[in-house]
Assembly symmetry: C2
Homo-oligomer: 714 residues x 2
């Protein structure tokens, strides 16, 4: 992704977010029970809890009625192992013959599609009484979805583990719910892919979009053109056997694998081994920088199509999914402009510009894909006149572009707003609907909006950090794509996200546990409490600012503090909630004052404590100003708290100096920023405005403080 | 391993430890510099630090002189990546041509053995000045060993990263330094094996002993006899391609792979698919329990040898190492006793007992292995009259048995005392010398003692926990096997172990980070501080008591508190050191009193805090008495501290009731025990004995308290 495109995305997205904010969708819950009663994610389309509970003891058993196959059996085994892991109970293995005696009965009507399909019926029903649970589904994939719900229903108290009595009817709102992982920029080993497929299945996602080629790496073995992976990957690629292993692993979990071969741009790595495919003579080297680059396939030469026919044919045989993604994004055509042969070709054929030339290229590609039995899929740019209607458009431009395509009869999926590499909070993704209530589409048109995909672009992720960039935020996207539109309570989403995040760890995900490991490496030892405090209130800068502030290449170590930090700071959210409670407790200001004081003292202390560690660890030198900021933020917050509790307003000078300090602290350093600034600012402004308080009721007072914070000089 | 054998091991080992304690070896350092100056592990045979330092900046470069091959290049690349990870600096890739300009010059004289060999020369020298570092070795493996030392030398301060000026001459004391991983009882995926190979290389271990078959699982693909892995493994086995991947991965790191096929006993899993090989008719099922079982191959039938000839021939072609391990342990011959044909065979051949029958079996095996070009290796039991001299004996009986074999001219390695599954502290393993100073062996005889192997028996380890059972303790064993005998300062070993433990994490090891993950699962949430406090002062019960106290099978979940707890509690060691300082500070008792008070308050508080969590998490119910114990231990310690500091002795009644409480707390619960009991007992007895103090100097007083603690009723 280039900076240029970055900016357009940001603008488009900001608009989308503003629009969403203005629509002010009704915050009502659908048919679902108040979600405060459960931690299901995604929330099923219909949930009704009843009186009673089904005890889960070591005599738990499972029976299958109806259709049974190896995939169902394996899915049941995985569920049982996780249930055992959580309860530390050992259950009987295998399926009981006598369904009456079983704790859980699963009943599939049939296998479903042999190759996972966008047409798959994923619905299921789950009924739990205090005697038995029954999970019914038309397909094995439906059963797999229901088993995840069953696991999420597990509760416990002093009496033991149990599943509450419940009736669930569930099916997805959208049938394309994907996660793109870009292993072009940074390669990810097999176990990373596998554990993320497990996590996807836990959240009922059903498409793994495998972005296999990039300027920075060609990551799939080609037996026909071995120089592609041999020269384009630094040896970091998946063999075809491994690709089959991934496809099978995904299939076992009801997940499709859509491979992407990004052409004609983003193709530098192809040209290292086969420079003759390029639009300039070469030689080419694997790209190490992030950004948009010039190398592009030459769309005017027949040899290129012959090559693509053979290569894509090989890939079409390897990847069984009905769709193949050909990328098509961000080709600026600079090589084309400079190539006289290409220019002559365009003149001869009456192709008026590069856009039209790429359309010509896409039309040729389409024929090739058709020949190999695949439906074509590409990014927004492929949406051009004459595009056949069975093409799928993946939109990085936004819901409006998607709706426009749907209106014209094209299938599409949304990725704008789901760019999880941009470090936005889960709440922002959660509010982003592929099919907003005000889309204005008819029912038939709306059916063309297939769903969406979270996109894990790989510029700044390593096997150590990628899980923490995908999870738990992608669970919020998964809910948006599965649950009814009306399920949109952000606070409740976060409550459940915390629980789901811990559950994901049982699948081997490292999003929680790798942070402390990385801090220990930076600190060169085990004492990382203060560093942990600092990093818990820091977030990597959002959008595309990381590279601007802290340029690195694809070969740089991703082991700095910014890599250990995670988006969507839970500590900051918690602090904001505490401050809110405190300020609503006017004029006493006692509610939560104890926790706030502790937190602020902790910040103040950590900053000081960190000085020696930072001094001794050069890799942490970039964090020195952040530690200093944290101390000052903590100290200012404590002062404000003290004013509030004593009912004494500070001087204007005090306020101004503290706001100035916050202004400095708000500037990103080491590509990190504090998401706690505005909460502390609220404390400071509230303290200063104390005299006004006497004239207002607490809720109005609270509103006024928020206005003042927004109004205060940033 | 059976309970019976367990007990004999314990007895033998206790004797060994007592013997070691009595020898009171000199605690002097060898030629090496005082180790407090570095954190090298294993300590090199000769280290001399000089004035000066070599700065490590982003302009770090590396050049190679002399012999260069892909293995050396890959080793250099791995080292550079780790150096980058720690420093968050990006270095130039590849080898410089101009050695004069390089920060580090490596110079190998030759490749060494193509297949890693017990004869490999692993020595190296490393000279670091403030201009350049030079690493010289006769082989590439020597260079790999030196690169690990180079990485361990990395230091930092305010000025940046650097390597201190130093001269190191290094070679191993023993040439067989191994780690056995039993993947028969519990299978471990490829990434577990690989990351442990990386850790082995970091500690300069050179033999991966792959225990591939057990009653509970046959874990290697046989193309000749596919029912072995298909029916004997639950589908959990390594394909031959994966085995080759492991062999190559190990070779790249200068590590041999010695496969073990444990026969004639421990062979239940073989017989599931091929019952006709057994000494009783079958059918057989994969064993799920721990222990010693009856199934054994029939040593009287020619078909069995024909089978073994083909199977071991297939394995001999797969595994290139010169040695093949045939197990040979713990066959009690009960099936043989009951089989009339076997009895008739013995009568006819004049084989007087089962031991002799197994010797007959071994002789036949030996011929088969010879035919396939392998040297035979087996456990103590194979050491019988007529055993050919090129057989290697792996001793679980102890250094005496090993010395006896050496005296008779047999090569041997020590595993007794290195059974890391027994949950002993690193210090116990560290003191265990394969060739004690008092062995009485001649130099020529001593040369038969090749080294030793840590043995990770797999009854109670999962992919989540195995790293924490192997590391960091195995680093202490690695040092025993590499460093001079005189390097034996336990306290300093622990100081360095803490640093090494964090460094191992950069290789993906999970021994540190998985504990909190497991606690989060048990607590069903992220708030695990109190649980962390509890588990930090608990250790799994030692030796073979876990199964007795908390029986499970090979299919049981290993996700309980005992699985999250780790051997060799660091918190307990630290507390013991604090108490020691306090008691030496008589009669003031102020030194470290603050930390001790904080720690004890933390314990008292955690116990109380845990009540609600335990109540809500049935999997933690077994921890309820432990939480209660911890509160009481903390409270009693605080009282004792208060008496000491006030200079007031408590009543006899107080002492007796507190000692009684400790006696109860000392009883293992949930297969866990408190290693802090004796330190708290010291506080209590010291408080009670206060009046005596006035008559003694602090050091004598300290001695007296220790005596009283030992004398106090346990």
């Amino acid at each position: 992704m280039s900076v240029r495109k970055y900016i357009s995305i940001i603008l488009l997205w900001s608009c989308a977010l503003n629009a969403a904010a203005q629509t002010s969708e009704p915050a009502t819950q659908s048919k679902a029970q108040p979600v405060s009663q459960h931690h299901l994610m995604p929330v099923p389309s219909s949930v009704r809890f009843n009186q009673g509970r089904l005890s889960i003891t070591k005599s738990f058993t499972l029976a299958a009625k109806g259709y049974v196959d190896d995939r169902l059996r394996a899915g049941v085994d995985r569920m049982i192992k996780r249930l055992e892991g959580r309860t530390v109970l050992e259950f009987e293995r295998g399926l009981l013959v006598d369904a009456n005696a079983a704790t859980l009965v699963v009943e599939a009507q049939g296998a479903g599609y042999d190759v996972p399909s966008v047409e798959e019926n994923e619905s299921y029903s789950l009924e739990v009484s205090d005697k038995q649970a029954t999970l019914r589904a038309p397909t094995v994939v439906g059963v797999l979805r229901g088993l995840e719900t069953f696991l999420q229903l597990l509760e416990s108290d002093r009496e033991g583990y149990f599943i509450p009595a419940v009736q669930i009817q569930d099916q997805p709102r959208f049938r394309w719910r994907g996660l793109l992982i870009d292993i072009g920029r940074h390669f990810e080993p097999m176990e990373v892919i596998k554990r993320n497929l497990d996590a996807m299945a836990a959240l009922k996602l059903n498409v793994f979009h495998w972005h296999l080629t990039e300027d920075q790496g060609f990551r799939i073995e080609s037996k026909k053109f071995p120089k592609l992976h041999e020269m384009g990957s630094d040896g970091l690629y998946y063999t075809q056997a491994e690709a089959r292993e991934v496809i099978n692993y995904a299939r076992e979990r009801g997940i499709r694998v859509v491979p992407e071969f990004d052409i004609p741009g983003h193709a530098t790595s192809w040209l290292v081994g086969y420079p003759e495919l390029g639009s300039a003579p070469g030689p080419y080297q694997i790209e190490r920088r992030p950004g948009i680059f010039e190398p592009a396939l030459d769309p005017t030469r027949e040899e290129v199509y012959k090559f693509l026919d053979q290569f894509l044919g090989e890939m079409a045989a390897l990847f069984p999914d009905a769709y193949m993604h050909i990328g098509g994004d961000e080709n600026e055509g600079k090589q084309w402009d400079r190539n006289p042969q290409i220019q002559a070709f365009m003149k001869k054929k009456g192709i008026k510009d590069n856009r039209a030339l790429q359309t010509y290229f896409n039309q040729r590609l389409l024929q090739i894909l058709k020949k190999h039995g695949k439906r074509m899929m590409g990014w927004d740019e492929i949406f051009q006149p004459d595009l056949p209607k069975d093409t799928v458009i993946q939109s990085w431009r936004g819901p409006k572009a998607l709706a426009e395509a749907a209106r014209r009869g094209y299938d599409g999926i949304l990725s704008n707003g789901y760019y999880i590499d941009l470090m936005q909070p889960a709440s922002a993704h959660y509010k982003n609907d592929p099919l907003p209530a005000d889309s204005g589409l008819s029912l038939a048109e709306a059916a063309h909006v297939l769903g969406g995909e979270a996109t894990m672009w790989g510029e700044w992720v390593s096997p150590e950090t990628i899980d923490s960039r995908i999870w738990p935020r992608t669970a919020a996207i998964a809910e948006r794509l599965w649950s009814p539109r009306e399920v949109n309570d952000v606070e409740d989403m976060y409550r459940r996200l915390n629980i789901i995040s811990v559950q994901l760890e049982e699948l081997g995900l490292t999003h929680e546990k790798n942070q402390q490991m990385m801090l220990r490496r930076l600190a060169q030892g085990k004492q990382v409490r203060a560093l942990q405090t600092l990093v818990s209130v820091l977030e990597p800068v959002k959008e595309y600012r990381r590279y601007q502030q802290r340029p690195q290449t694809m070969l740089s170590p991703l082991t700095g503090l910014v890599d250990a930090a995670r988006p969507d700071s839970e500590a900051a959210r918690r602090f904001a909630a505490l401050v809110n409670e405190l300020l609503l407790d006017a004029p006493r200001f006692e509610s939560r004052a104890f926790e706030i004081e502790n937190t602020l003292s902790d910040w103040r202390g950590a900053g000081t404590e960190l000085e020696a560690m930072i001094d001794a660890s050069p890799a942490l030198h970039e964090a020195a100003p952040l530690a200093n900021d944290l101390s000052q933020i903590g100290a200012a917050g404590l002062e404000a708290l003290s004013f509030l509790r004593r009912g004494v307003a500070p001087s204007t000078q005090w306020r101004d100096s503290r706001l100035l300090m916050l202004e400095q602290a708000a500037k990103p350093k080491a590509a990190l920023e504090f998401p706690i600034i505005s909460s502390v600012k609220e404390l400071i402004i509230a303290a200063y405005e104390l005299p006004q308080l006497k004239t207002m009721p607490p809720s109005e007072w609270r509103k006024r403080v928020k206005q003042l914070v927004v109004g205060a000089k940033q």
